[in-house]
């Protein structure tokens, strides 16, 4: 095909006085109509878009008849190819396209005068479509400038399609609904963003639900059964085993979710648990101390050694006493020289071991050096038990002898 075409073209070009040396350009032009090797379609009722059609048209028809057209066209083709090689084929291709359409119409006029009006209508539609396709291609080219722009030639043979449809179509209008059970929506389903799963699935769901409702109504009108009775058991699309796995999966999912929630709760609890525990212990200790104090007071009362002070405290409201106790009355004995309370020290001892700080515990400080409780002058004069007594001088020894 391609070879004969190029020969033809060469001959034509020679006739026109053009140089057939431009091999590269022709190569590019041959590369452009990619679909030229496609099967030739039927002569009547076939509408082929784009530049390929007229190339094939040359072969089919006598050259003498169409020579005028060809003369007009051949330089165009070469021009288009050259422009395409410069990657600015947009304008050229569109011009070409327009020319082609005109020619096609002319040919049709020559060949068939009967179906002319119909054809023209179809062609107009086709032209519109091909225009849209052009814009698409342009957009793509803008995105990827490296790709060679070529028009994808497509076939959309409306008359053949409708003919095929007529041949196989069920007479839906005369068939009762029960026979086919098909419904078409009144308006096209609009999905704004196909990539948005949720909205897309919702649109599908709505379409199906509407169909289900309408179908039930129609079947009810015909008196046909719709719902399966509850005691009707039969093989299902998914067998019990499969449904079991699905059920198990759902259960597992729910369990996982629950476990995750529990784990999170535990984590949070752990975060605050220490504080809570501490507060609880504190409270318990406080309650213990209070009861002990009360017992002490009672004991003293019994012994009769209770002072005015305790009497007075008894006479007042106990709650007031309790409230005032931690803040106000505090003996100086309770406090450490360092300023911290004994209770805290005790607490810490309990927690970390009761010795407290071991470091420097044996080294003396101001208090220990000034502490003379363990000092006795007599003991201070005694020698250490380990040391030998000094031998007295010679004269003394001589004197004692």
């Amino acid at each position: 095909m391609a070879k004969s075409k190029s020969k033809l073209k060469n001959a034509l070009l020679r006739q026109l006085g053009k140089d057939p040396v431009r091999d590269k350009q022709r190569k590019i032009s041959r590369r452009q109509p990619k679909t030229s090797k496609r099967k030739e379609t039927d002569g009547d009722g076939v509408v082929v878009n784009g530049a390929d059609k007229d190339v094939e048209g040359w072969e089919d028809e006598d050259e003498d008849e169409n020579e005028d057209e060809n003369e007009d066209e051949a330089p165009e083709l070469v021009d288009a190819a050259r422009k395409a090689s410069k990657k600015s084929a947009k304008v050229a291709v569109t011009e070409e396209e327009d020319d082609d359409d005109d020619e096609e119409e002319e040919e049709d006029e020559e060949e068939e005068g009967v179906e002319l009006e119909e054809k023209e209508e179809e062609k107009e539609e086709d032209d519109e479509e091909s225009d849209i396709a052009f814009s698409d291609i342009d957009g793509d080219d803008l995105e990827a400038p490296d790709t060679l722009p070529y028009q994808k030639l497509t076939i959309n043979n409306h008359s053949a399609l409708t003919q095929a449809l007529e041949r196989i179509a069920l007479p839906l209008s005369s068939l009762p609904f029960v026979e086919h059970q098909s419904l078409t929506t009144d308006v096209p389903v609009e999905i704004r963003d196909v990539d948005d799963d949720l909205s897309r699935e919702l649109a599908f769901y709505k379409q199906a639900l509407d169909a289900a409702n309408l179908g039930r109504k129609k079947l009810a009108k015909d008196g046909m059964p719709f719902a399966r009775p509850t005691d009707y058991f039969a093989e299902m699309l998914k067998d019990d085993e499969h449904m079991g796995t699905i059920k198990q999966k759902l259960l597992d999912e729910a369990a996982n979710k629950k476990a995750a929630a529990e784990a999170r709760r535990q984590r949070d609890l752990k975060k605050f648990g220490k504080q809570v525990q501490f507060a609880k212990l504190e409270e318990r200790n406080k309650a213990k101390k209070d009861t002990l104090e009360k017992i002490q007071v009672l004991k003293r009362k019994r012994q009769g050694t209770d002072t005015d002070f305790t009497n007075e405290a008894d006479m007042f409201d106990v709650a007031l006493d309790d409230a005032a106790a931690p803040g106000g009355r505090r003996d100086k004995k309770d406090r450490d020289p360092s300023g911290r309370s004994k209770a805290k020290r005790q607490k810490k001892d309990q927690k970390y071991g009761h010795g407290g700080k071991k470091r420097f515990s044996k080294s003396g400080d101001a208090a220990s050096s000034s502490d003379l409780t363990g000092f006795s002058a007599r003991k201070n004069k005694t020698t250490f038990s380990g040391t030998k007594k000094k031998r007295p001088g010679k004269s003394k020894r001589a004197g004692t002898r």
């Binding site: 496609r38 099967k39 379609t41 076939v46 396709a133 698409d136 994808k152 497509t154 076939i155 959309n156 043979n157 409306h158 053949a160 399609l161 409708t162 095929a164 041949r167 196989i168 179509a169 069920l170 007479p171 068939l175 029960v178 026979e179 086919h180 098909s182 419904l183 078409t184 929506t185 096209p188 389903v189 999905i191 196909v194 649109a203 599908f204 769901y205 379409q207 199906a208 639900l209 509407d210 169909a211 289900a212 409702n213 179908g215 039930r216 109504k217 079947l219 059964p225 719709f226 719902a227 399966r228 039969a234 093989e235 299902m236 699309l237 998914k238 449904m243 796995t245 699905i246 999966k249």
Partner: protein
């Protein structure tokens, strides 16, 4: 003799018969795959066969080039529809829908395929119950899509009284056009008593106005699966043959997509190596050669 009778009687179109003046929708579908399908494609086939009680499953077809043999196989099984799954390169699935003896033939590319088994939807339906087919109105906008809709109706619609079909309707098959593709969904119709506490009064008024027994239950849908998306590629006038009467210009073959991807990756590598070479040349020009032996007076040698 029987075969002669068969061939003669077959000339009468079998789709619609006038028995006792009642028009009938008679369809039988031959379902099969090519060789080289993956497990997923096989599972889809299993699902489709389970959904279509009027289908006849056949062994895998050996050839991918001589598809016209399918017409004979369909004839053998008395099928007037063929649903043929063709797998290429063990990854791309094409679906051929054909009206067997001489009807049109549609080739579609199947994408986003999820079978019933892997989807784990809770919906379920009777095996062989007749579905309600729901089509998008966008199917009627172009002649090609109208034709596709008709063929889908023949293949996926279970004809009344088909063998092994059940007389109840409990699922909907929906075909929607979005993004130039046909999206397939399968839903179970579940009927539930309407919520009584919320709109008791409304219901009372409704029941007073219209006492229809069918209106009492509320319909809701639960998806069953499978899911897939089909892109029409071409329509042939004959069955697995004949002239092309439609071609989708928006269709990009998966091979082209992959090539593009590979080229883009190659470009990345090429540009990187080019850059490296340029850098090397530049270094040489400036006398800064890399990997040159260290001289005696090199700083790192002197002050080591």
């Amino acid at each position: 003799m029987a075969s002669v009778y068969k061939s003669i009687s077959k000339t009468i179109s079998k789709d619609i018969k006038d028995d006792d003046g009642i028009k009938r929708n008679k369809q039988r579908v031959l379902v099969l795959t090519s060789r080289g399908v993956t497990y997923r494609h096989r599972h889809l086939l299993k699902d489709v066969v389970a959904m279509l009680p009027h289908s006849r499953k056949d062994a895998k077809l050996d050839t991918k080039s001589k598809l016209y043999h399918l017409n004979e196989i369909a004839d053998l099984y008395n099928c007037n529809n063929v649903l043929f799954f063709e797998a290429r390169k063990r990854q791309d699935l094409y679906m051929w829908m054909s009206k067997a003896p001489n009807g049109p033939c549609i080739k579609l590319h199947v994408q986003n395929l999820h079978t019933m088994e892997e989807l784990n939807f809770t919906g379920n339906a009777l095996k062989g119950s007749r579905p309600i087919l729901s089509f998008d109105a966008a199917f009627d906008q172009t002649p090609a899509m109208t034709l596709i809709k008709e063929v889908l109706l023949h293949i996926f619609g279970v004809p009344k009284g088909a063998r092994k079909s059940k007389p109840f309707v409990d699922h909907v098959l929906s075909f929607t056009i979005a993004d130039g593709k046909i999206w397939f969904r399968n839903y179970q119709i579940s009927e539930a008593e309407p919520t009584k506490k919320v709109d008791d009064d409304i219901e009372k008024s409704m029941s007073l106005k219209s006492k229809k027994p069918t209106e009492q239950t509320e319909l809701s849908l639960v998806e069953i699966g499978p899911r897939f998306v089909m892109t029409p590629i071409i329509i042939l006038e004959g069955s697995f043959g004949g002239p092309v009467i439609y071609e989708n210009k928006e269709f990009v073959s998966p091979n082209a997509v992959r090539t593009d991807l590979r080229n883009r990756r190659a470009q990345k590598y090429n540009s990187r190596t080019e850059e490296q070479q340029r850098l090397e040349i530049k270094r040489k020009e400036l006398g800064l050669e890399v990997g040159k032996a260290k001289g005696e007076l090199d700083e790192s040698v002197l002050f080591a």
